[in-house]
């Protein structure tokens, strides 16, 4: 299927990546080449072939329902994103992550 720049912008939105109009046009030509490569698959008859997701046919392990992790909130929040240009400020406050307001 041939893609348009509108398709690129739609896919980019699904992937939560902002693209400008000029980026979308450049991306379109590259993606068209890659999708052309992928199209080779369609010539293969795969009727009745069981899809393979992993090389080893293993089942998911179960473990006892016990606590295995310790609380490392402080260590993990130390690496929260920097906010404000070049300042030391971090996107945390009182143990909570700061994000733009989502509920009015």
């Amino acid at each position: 299927m041939a893609l348009s720049t509108e398709d690129i912008k739609k896919i980019a939105h699904l992937a939560r990546i902002e693209v400008s109009d000029s980026d979308a046009a450049a991306t379109l030509s590259k993606l068209t080449g890659i999708l052309g490569l992928i199209e080779q698959m369609q010539a293969v008859n795969t009727d009745g072939i069981v899809p393979m997701s992993h090389s080893q046919d293993v089942v998911q392990r179960l473990r006892d329902d016990v606590v295995t992790k310790t609380n490392q909130r402080e260590a993990f929040q130390k690496i929260s994103p920097a906010i404000g240009n070049g300042s030391e400020a971090r996107a945390v406050d009182g143990g909570l992550y700061l994000v733009p307001k989502v509920i009015e």
């Binding site: 473990r63 130390k78 733009p100």
Partner: protein
């Protein structure tokens, strides 16, 4: 000393001919001299490294050394190492200091090895030339105008330029073997599930596998003894008995050490697209194997050419899911200006990811989107099984498979960077083993002369059946007993201003 095997270094450390601090300082001095040009390392912390070396010396003195205690190892920057900047070659993680250790890092720490630093790589391991790294390309030590291969390009250059005793890498579609071929050293991608992926930044989880990059098969075996093993923190880690990967190296018949070994040559690996100079080196290597007692069998892997299309559906699909975690909320890059939460996600990801990573996320998002799943993702998974079945058939006729690891020698920086499809074809001989989950190696087999007259390394690929790493390592080791391609190192010009 910089050319010594891991075994020799361990003996020198045990005999007190050198200390780990001295050995480590020797490599750090070389890194300080050559890294500004080669750009193999993107995070260095001499104090932390030397503290580990000092601790290793104490352990050696106390008589509790392991075979890798005090050995300086370079770690690909895809492995989280507590307190170390861990970027995965991306602006997204430019300031990410890992709060915990990857399983592989823990294993090396427990063995008493010394972490020399974190090595450069293609961004999120997506690339075959190291040119997608946010921190700049890496120079191939054999010819600074050429790429080292990728994605483990920094580890590759570090091993080839003797800026470490050995290094770690990861291989999703050829990222250990292709750079090993282009830089002329020994690299092994183990069977999927043998080395834990815990703390290894995810690209395509059903294909990602870590392995050793070193100067010889014997060194790789010693590294495997540390890296391999069950880890319950990785849901696809395989619960198998601990193996000694050196076990087959020292007990062969000295005259015909590989007597009776059936070597399969897939005709598809010697077809159109293979550089003539590379083909000649591989033929010579096969002739050498015949002298060692191997029997050559022609085999076919008919779906080889489909491995690239299949890979470029499955790997981007898995990547688009894995990389959705980078949203700028809890760690990683956050855009400085945005209007609302959606805008924050979109801008943070647009700024944090490079062009190739974005392309793969978009491909993955597209093939997984409503209405296309069966035509792309499911179809690719079905062909993946056909590819695995090709190998299953082939291994009924042979013990190991041999061929080239890469279709050409190292190419010039910038040559393929604007043509993703040409870059993807670099992995034509390596990707199918990732899809099947099989182990594969690249072993130095000689040199091919480039158009501009440079001798450039060529790697022989050895593919084994599941869990056959010990045999493959011996197959490579026996070749390295009668050839010295693996021992050759590039001559580096002394940087300006040094004695």
């Amino acid at each position: 000393m910089i050319n010594s095997s891991l075994k020799t270094l361990a003996q020198m450390l045990a005999n007190k001919e050198i200390s780990s601090v001295e050995l480590t300082q020797t490599f750090l001095n070389r890194i300080d001299a050559y890294n500004p040009e080669i750009n193999a390392y993107i995070a260095l912390d001499h104090d932390r490294t030397l503290a580990q070396a000092k601790a290793a010396d104490a352990r050696i003195a106390a008589g509790s050394a392991t075979p890798l205690t005090g050995i300086p190892i370079a770690q690909k920057d895809i492995f989280c190492a507590q307190g170390w900047k861990t970027t995965c070659g991306s602006k997204m993680l430019e300031n990410f200091i890992a709060p915990y250790d990857a399983h592989v890092i823990t294993q090396f720490d427990n063995a008493g090895a010394v972490n020399l630093g974190k090595t450069n790589m293609d961004e999120f391991a997506m690339g075959s030339s190291n040119e997608t790294s946010y921190f700049g390309g890496v120079k191939n030590p054999w010819d600074f105008s050429r790429v080292p291969g990728g994605s483990s390009g920094g580890s590759a250059a570090a091993v080839a330029a003797r800026l470490c005793a050995a290094a770690t890498g990861t291989d999703t579609g050829g990222s250990i073997r292709q750079p090993a071929s282009l830089c002329g050293f020994t690299g092994l991608k183990p069977t999927y599930g043998v080395v834990s992926r815990y703390g290894m930044i995810a690209f395509a989880s059903s294909l990602d596998q870590a392995g050793p990059m070193a100067k010889s098969a014997e060194d790789c075996a010693l590294m495997m003894n540390v890296m391999a093993g069950f880890d319950e923190r990785d849901s696809t880690s395989l619960n198998r008995d601990k193996e000694d990967y050196t076990r087959e190296l020292y007990n062969s018949n000295p005259n015909k050490p590989l007597q009776g070994l059936r070597v399969g040559l897939p005709k598809e690996f010697f077809a159109e697209g293979l550089d003539a100079g590379v083909a000649k080196v591989i033929e010579d290597a096969i002739a050498e194997y015949k002298k060692l007692g191997a029997e050559i069998v022609e085999i076919s892997l008919p779906n080889t050419s489909l491995s690239i299309p299949v890979y470029y559906v499955l790997a981007p699909a898995e990547a688009s899911s894995n990389l959705s975690r980078y949203d700028g909320v809890r760690y990683g890059h956050r855009a400085s200006e945005y209007t609302d939460l959606m805008d924050m996600y979109c801008k943070s990801r647009a700024e944090g990811f490079g062009a190739e990573v974005k392309r793969r996320i978009l491909i993955g998002t597209y093939v997984l989107s409503a209405g296309y799943y069966d035509a792309y993702y499911l179809k690719a998974q079905q062909i993946r099984r056909l590819i695995a079945q090709d190998f299953e058939e082939a291994f009924k006729k042979c013990d190991v498979i041999m061929g080239p690891a890469a279709p050409s020698t190292a190419f010039k920086a910038g040559e393929k960077v604007d043509d993703p499809v040409a870059m993807y074809l670099q992995d034509i001989y390596t990707i199918s083993t990732n899809l099947a989950g099989l182990p594969g190696m690249s072993v130095p087999a000689g040199f091919a002369t480039s158009a501009d007259g440079k001798p450039l390394p060529v790697g022989l690929q050895i593919i084994g059946n599941y869990f056959d790493e010990a045999r493959m390592l011996n197959v490579a080791h026996q070749y390295q007993q009668v050839t010295d391609w693996h021992a050759q190192a590039p001559t580096l010009d002394k940087p300006e201003g040094t004695a």
